[in-house]
């Protein structure tokens, strides 16, 4: 930093000064006018990439810069605000066409529902209590067949309140009908956020997607991110190729309601509700091929065939990778299955990847152990599942905790 230049001093929530971010690469400053639309396959799989060292929030910002988003609406909540104010700067630079701070999350999620019905590409983000507040609306998005992307920066939701990381909130998202991806690190947060947009807008999907990340551990910490040039952006949303008509009154005049009003108590409406739900969950399943294509599969497997296997998602994966390395140093090969997509859930993949496992350890950043329940619901011989280690309320997960579980299984 040159002398005499006033730089904004960034602090973490505890008030400690965070050193200034590295200056962005020159091409990050060119602006929206220089961007050109490219095919998603090119953007995700072929385009040359630069490697930069940025926070998770900055990674999300870079994803949004390339996502050709029309409108972003959100309400500030730690640890989400860092990302959404960065998206505000993108709006100020002209990358987005509209942006505003909503009144609170119920209003925000409702406004997203309106914007998505108009046919534009929409983004929002929230965390913990904000997700809970918006949940009534979020669970109605899939039935409304509303493509949009919701970033979730996980934090404590239960009393006593805290801003600290804890992903218990994802237990609620599992049954919402939204696609749900869980990012391990800054790279995933960039990749998943960007790739979620075209998946949500595929005709056979036409659903919202949530991209979750563990707050602070990823959002406020730096990691290496490989990303394509900022001169590239995704094609705009093509709303007339989706599963339902837009609410833009460009349809022929007829007395048909696209959005089913509250249902009466009779068998036709029971049938209607049932078919609606079946179609939503069938659409969740139909997203698999795009996740396979653009995420490289719903899971990642390290050390296939190991007798002790860790199954994890989110930041727990990073800690598990290190535990696997340390166990390897001590001569024990431990497997790791990273779950990238929680909805759709990788049923077949997980059964295959844990087939030879004698013990399956599931470390989680929450008290309730929703991932362990998910895994048990899918795999055969559930007695192999070892709960935990689990940390919550903001605790970190030292690799010793995972290693302890691993070696306890060896001793048995």
């Amino acid at each position: 930093m040159s002398e005499g230049v006033q730089e904004e001093v960034k602090t973490n929530p505890q008030g400690d000064v965070i050193s200034a971010a590295p200056p962005p690469k020159a091409d990050l400053k060119k602006g929206p006018a220089t961007q050109r639309v490219v095919d998603p396959d090119y953007m995700f799989l072929e385009a040359p990439k630069d490697k930069i060292f940025i926070t998770g929030s900055e990674a999300a910002k870079e994803a949004i810069r390339r996502a050709n988003v029309d409108i972003a609406i959100s309400y500030p909540i730690t640890p989400q605000s860092e990302t959404m104010q960065q998206v505000g700067y993108l709006y100020a630079e002209g990358y987005l066409k509209d942006y505003y701070r909503g009144e609170e999350e119920y209003g925000v999620m409702s406004a997203i529902a309106g914007a998505s019905r108009s046919g534009v590409r929409c983004l929002t983000a929230t965390a913990g209590p904000g997700l809970m507040r918006g949940m009534e609306v979020i669970t109605s998005w899939p039935g409304g067949r509303l493509p949009c992307v919701l970033l979730i920066m996980c934090r404590v939701i239960n009393a006593p309140l805290a801003i600290q990381p804890d992903n218990a909130e994802l237990a609620f998202m599992l049954n919402s009908g939204c696609l749900l991806f869980h990012a391990e690190n800054q790279q995933d947060f960039f990749d998943f956020a960007l790739r979620a947009f075209p998946i949500t807008e595929k005709c056979e999907v036409t659903l919202p997607a949530a991209v979750a990340v563990d707050g602070f551990f990823v959002t406020h910490a730096r990691g290496w991110v490989e990303l394509p040039s900022a001169d590239l952006k995704l094609p705009p949303r093509d709303c007339y190729h989706e599963a339902v008509p837009m609410m833009d009154n460009e349809n022929p005049p007829i007395r048909i309601s696209r959005d089913a009003p509250i249902q009466k108590s009779n068998f036709i409406s029971y049938q209607m509700h049932a078919s609606w739900q079946q179609e939503v969950w069938a659409a969740v399943e139909r997203s698999r091929k795009w996740i396979d294509r653009w995420f490289g599969g719903l899971i990642e497997v390290v050390n296939p065939g190991a007798r002790i296997v860790i199954v994890a998602s989110g930041a727990a994966v990073s800690q598990s990778r290190e535990a696997v390395r340390q166990a390897g140093e001590q001569g024990l090969e431990v497997g790791l299955v990273k779950i990238k997509s929680l909805r759709p859930f990788p049923n077949e993949e997980l059964i295959a990847a844990t087939e030879h496992a004698e013990k399956i350890i599931i470390p989680e950043f929450n008290y309730v152990g929703w991932l362990a329940k998910e895994v048990r619901a899918v795999i055969p011989r559930t007695e192999r599942v070892v709960n935990g280690p689990r940390v919550f309320g903001g605790m970190s997960m030292p690799t010793e905790l995972i290693l302890e579980k691993i070696f306890a299984q060896v001793r048995k």
Binding site: I71, K97, E103, A111, A113, G114, S118, V137, N249, D259
Partner: protein, 299 residues
């Protein structure tokens, strides 16, 4: 709309639903219809499951005729009686969650403004007193403070009619209703005053006693919302069931309430007034011009 985007093959036209054919040939789209023409053209709202004698239904029916461009309008509602009629009207109707109308409308209007830069798309919220003043209160107020460009119409029957007759914030003090077994304890909420505080561009209050007035008020509200800022129409649309008003007396009650406490009121901001005056002058000049033309031709 619509009439250009999707055009049926002439060979198939006769096989399309009669509703579609009538709406295209004899509907209100791209043709200005007046209240006095009611009954002589295909209306946006025809069949509905509302109660016999419901004043709200009459109000909604006239309001839909009044829309300045029904072919470019989207209506948003929420739980309540009004949506039973609105969901069967020939205009796209969004029915979201409880009390979300003005937040949904904010996102929708902004999205439509991005996509249709040369064609104004009108967004109209039409919901009850409970949906707007109670459960949707925060969304309503913030949409006004943000100066979102859409119209909010409150169908004020002063009760939760659809849920079976519970007290609402817009109920008169002292009324004995369900959930107010000893009478409502506080005054009817002053949504007009709140709208004024929030800087709503056009605010109107009326009872459906005069169809032409309903027509003019809704039209004005939608046009001002299109160009100036948020507009709010609060309409007394009595619940003859919960308030036990005999069906033939519904309009007598409306006249009585209008005289007593629901008189026609309009509040315009300076900007809205300026815009409306200019619009009116333009309209008069057009009519005058047309008359002149006719006169000169006659001469």
């Amino acid at each position: 709309m619509s009439l250009e985007t999707v055009k049926p093959s002439p060979a198939l036209k006769n096989f399309l639903p009669k509703e579609y054919q009538d709406l295209v040939e004899d509907g209100p789209f791209k043709k200005e219809r007046k209240v006095s023409e009611m009954g002589s053209f295909k209306e946006i709202l025809e069949e509905h499951p509302m109660c016999a004698g419901c004043a709200m239904t009459l109000f909604i029916r006239i309001s839909l005729i009044a829309l300045p461009s029904p072919e470019h309008t989207v209506i948003i509602g929420t739980a309540g009686c009004g949506r039973l009629a609105l969901s069967q009207a020939a205009i796209p109707f969004i029915y979201g969650n409880y009390g979300d109308t003005n937040a949904v409308a904010s996102g929708l209007k902004r999205g439509l403004a991005i996509r249709f830069q040369d064609t104004p798309k009108d967004v109209v919220v039409m919901a009850g007193d409970g949906g707007l003043a109670d459960i949707g209160f925060s969304a309503v107020m913030h949409s006004w403070f943000r100066k979102e460009r859409f119209t909010t119409v409150m169908l004020d029957n002063e009760v939760y009619g659809n849920t079976g007759g519970q007290e609402s914030g817009m109920t008169q003090r002292g009324m004995v209703l369900k959930m107010a077994p000893t009478g409502k304890k506080f005054e009817k909420m002053d949504m007009m005053g709140l709208a004024k505080t929030a800087g709503v561009a056009y605010i109107a209050r009326l009872a459906p006693t005069n169809p032409t007035r309903v027509y003019n008020t809704i039209r004005k509200a939608v046009l001002i919302a299109r160009e100036v800022g948020p507009t709010y129409v609060q309409a007394y649309t009595s619940c003859n069931i919960e308030y036990a008003i005999p069906t033939p007396k519904v309009m007598d009650d409306a006249r009585e309430v209008e005289k007593d406490r629901y008189g026609f009121t309009e509040i315009l901001t300076d900007e809205a007034k300026k815009y409306w005056d200019a619009l009116e002058a333009e309209r008069r000049a057009k009519i005058g011009g047309a008359k002149k033309e006719v006169t000169s031709q006659e001469a």
